[in-house]
């Protein structure tokens, strides 16, 4: 039949007419997905805004109890991972298999470092009784309730972000295996491209989380 004029391959699924059409569709699909992600995180950012404007002093004190240096280091790690991701996409466009592999592995390592540091930070919260629950206590504030809400939001937002990082790490692992097996070429590298979009998005979420959670009441002296 005329309308099923080609066999299905990875670069050209049967519902598409041309490889360009498929790449355009996949890319648009990822952008639309990222818009849904913005709305998803948006609910949390709204809750944060409401309670920060209701309890500005408590939020400032609670924020100052977080370790801004570790947070800054982690931000740098994530920014570097975005850079290596860009380089991986560039290498994929040029069809350089070895370079894709190297940059993807670097991105993966940086992502794992970020998650490791995050785990260390969460552990500290348990030690310091900053985890919401019966034993919660934050020095220096009278209103323990709103302080708990700050840390609830802290855990919810960084937790959700970390979940996205874990998914990103999974994607990277899959991409590394696929690259190793020679699945990608300069003609077909859409998965690397759209995984890159996802990774940068997760990075940008952190760029917003870091100042909102860590830097509320920091001043240069």
């Amino acid at each position: 039949m005329a309308s099923e004029g080609h066999a299905e391959t990875l670069a050209l699924r049967e519902q598409f007419d041309t490889a360009d059409q498929q790449k355009d569709a996949s890319t648009l699909g990822m952008w639309v997905f990222l818009i849904t992600e913005i709305m998803f995180f948006g609910g949390m950012f709204l809750a944060y805004s409401v309670y920060r404007s209701s309890y500005p002093v408590v939020f400032a004190v609670a924020s100052s109890s977080l370790n801004a240096v570790i947070g800054a280091v982690n931000t740098a790690v994530l920014l570097c991972s975005s850079f290596t991701m860009v380089m991986a996409v560039r290498a994929a466009q040029l069809g350089q298999r070895r370079a894709i592999l190297i940059f993807l592995i670097l991105t993966l390592i940086l992502g794992m470092v970020f998650l490791g540091v995050k785990a260390y930070e969460w552990n500290e919260k348990f030690v310091e009784h900053h985890v919401p629950g019966p034993t919660f206590h934050l020095e220096g504030v009278e209103m323990q309730g709103p302080a708990q809400i700050f840390f609830s939001l802290y855990f919810a937002m960084t937790g959700l972000h970390a979940l996205h990082m874990v998914i990103g790490v999974g994607l990277l692992t899959w991409l590394i295996i696929a690259t190793y097996r020679g699945r990608f070429s300069a003609q077909y590298m859409t998965p690397v491209d759209i995984a890159g979009l996802y990774w940068h998005f997760v990075d940008i979420i952190w760029i917003f989380l870091f100042p909102l959670l860590y830097l509320i009441d920091r001043h240069l002296r």
Partner: protein, 541 residues
């Protein structure tokens, strides 16, 4: 008996056989039928809950079930109907089947994701079913905090997980439709040649993609609050339960338009084909869908008029809610103008379309009542509100869904439905519907609150009328169930274009081949150009 012609030709139904060829299919047409079976099941489950509610309300004493059980009945009726029937109904069945065909595509852009979204609906549905069988949930479908997070002693978490998962089904369907409309149109199929059903599904998809994630994160917060007591909705810790209402209605008001916009798209198709005229003011009807989608996000506060929202915010939300009336009225007036000097035939789908226009107009106009601050304070949480949204959801969405099912049934199955029975059932549904819900306007205006099963004696007559109507309505819904199944075997064999319609979906055999078209269509005309339908040229005007 299957006729010989049907045996000869290969189409999407006989291309492969066996349970695996259905459960692992990537064909949007088969997935649409999977959805059809699933939502029909949930429709009758939700209907069973409604039946119990109506039987209980026959007497004012509340003798049949306990108050606790009654709370669970109306909650599970709402949850089932809203999240597992109405939201997927038209987009995931009729939209899934016909959106790709109408734009001349072989399939949706992401067939695997399409199948995944059906599985997500089923898994979400299983969670909800589990919650219902294990003991039910009693918070109302709105899950208001702090009752749902702190006090309710029922299966809130399992139900919430079910809705969360089903939400992703909705998001992925929307994503798939948006990309498909942008990237998969046939040569010559410009944006302003798209059938209006495609426009309205596109607008619906925008809401699904932008709104549903907010519901998802709200459910995550409710889950955390209920399981870990994080304090976000708990006043004892400084949290604000009303924040939940804002987040919930930010999705759930636009969700009303997820339910009704595709219905409006169906009506545009039906009115045009059965009056043999292009839809009057095509561009206005198309943009009014987008306008409803956008405005839908700006009116959630009208659900919070009596929930500590400031009077000024209330005034703004009331004002904005009135704006929704403009695009809605544009549609109704343009449909009416389409009928003017048309060559109208009264086939079953057209009867449903007429039913829709009347009932949607009543539902829409009473929407203005509840959108105005002063009146709403009087009728908040009464049967007036119940009647209002059932006129939109049942009188609007389900009427259009039934109309669309009849209209496209020959294309989907290759068989005609029995016209006489179908007309009778359309009439029964229309009468049953009005008898069920019109008394509820009066009940509500007189002060009967929603969600109570014990009520003063003077309300009994109206409740009995409503229950009588519900029994008629039930008969009306069972009839198509029977004759549709009957028609699969005994219905007359359908031609490619039994209605003389213009859409691309009618330019291919019934049922369509696996890849929809034997030859890639090229579009050279505007939508609804009836001079192009061979042998059925009708002079217009």
């Amino acid at each position: 008996m299957i006729t010989e012609a049907a045996v000869e030709r290969e189409h999407y139904l006989n291309a492969s056989y066996g349970i695996k060829s259905w459960l692992l299919t990537k064909d949007h047409k088969r997935i649409a039928l999977l959805y059809l079976a699933t939502v029909t099941l949930f429709f009758f489950l939700g209907g069973a809950f409604a039946t119990l509610i109506r039987i209980e309300l026959l007497t004012p004493t509340g003798g049949l079930v306990s108050s606790e059980t009654y709370n669970k009945l109306f909650t599970m009726h709402g949850v089932t109907m809203v999240f597992f029937f109405l939201i997927p109904s038209i987009p995931a069945t009729l939209g899934n089947f016909f959106l790709p065909m109408m734009i001349g595509a072989r399939d949706l852009a992401f067939p695997r994701i399409n199948l995944l979204s059906w599985y997500l609906l089923v898994i979400g549905g299983l969670f909800a079913l589990y919650a219902m069988l294990a003991g039910g949930v009693d918070t109302g479908w709105t899950f208001y905090t702090p009752y749902s997070t702190t006090y309710s002693n029922s299966w809130v978490v399992a139900t919430a997980i079910g809705i969360f998962i089903a939400g992703f089904s909705s998001i992925l369907t929307g994503l798939n439709f948006i990309v498909t409309v942008h990237r998969m149109r046939a040569p010559g199929m410009t944006w302003f040649r798209l059938p209006l059903f495609v426009w309205s599904n596109y607008a619906t998809s925008l809401i699904q993609v932008l709104g549903t994630p907010v519901l998802a994160v709200t459910i995550v917060l409710v889950f955390c609050e209920r399981v870990f007591h994080i304090g976000i909705f708990d006043p004892a810790l400084g949290g604000d339960p009303v924040l939940f209402q804002h987040l919930f209605w930010f999705y759930s008001h636009p969700a009303v338009y997820i339910m009704v916009l595709p219905a409006m798209g169906v009506i545009s198709e039906l009115i045009s084909v059965y009056s043999r005229k292009p839809v009057f003011g095509y561009a206005f009807v198309a943009f009014s869908s987008v306008a409803i989608a956008v405005l839908g996000f700006l009116v959630w506060g009208h659900h919070l008029f009596v929930s500590t929202q400031s009077v000024y915010a209330g005034m703004v939300f009331s004002f904005l809610s009135y704006f929704v009336a403009i695009p809605s009225a544009i549609k109704v007036f343009n449909w009416t103008a389409t009928l003017y000097k048309g060559s109208i035939s009264f086939a079953t789908p057209m009867l449903y379309a007429f039913g829709f226009i009347g009932l949607f107009t009543i539902g829409g106009l009473t929407g203005l009542f509840v959108a105005s601050l002063g009146i709403d304070v009087h009728v908040t949480d009464t049967y007036f509100v119940i009647a209002h949204f059932h006129y939109i959801m049942v009188g609007g969405t389900i009427m259009a869904y039934m109309g669309g099912l009849h209209y496209w049934w020959p294309k989907m199955t290759g068989r005609m439905y029995p016209e006489g029975w179908a007309k009778l059932s359309a009439l029964v549904i229309f009468l049953g519907f009005n008898l069920t819900f019109f008394p509820q306007f009066i009940l509500g205006y007189l002060g009967m609150p929603r969600r109570y099963h014990v009520y003063p004696d003077e309300f009994q007559v109206l409740h009995v009328l409503s229950t009588a109507g519900a029994s008629v309505l039930a008969v009306g819904y069972l009839m198509p169930m029977i004759y549709f199944i009957w028609s699969l075997r005994y219905g007359a064999v359908a031609t490619a274009n039994p209605w003389g319609a213009t859409g691309l979906e009618w330019k291919t055999p019934s049922p369509p081949p696996v890849h929809n078209f034997d030859e890639m269509p090229v579009v050279t005309h505007e939508a609804y150009d009836y001079s192009t339908v061979m042998g059925e040229v009708i002079e217009v005007g």
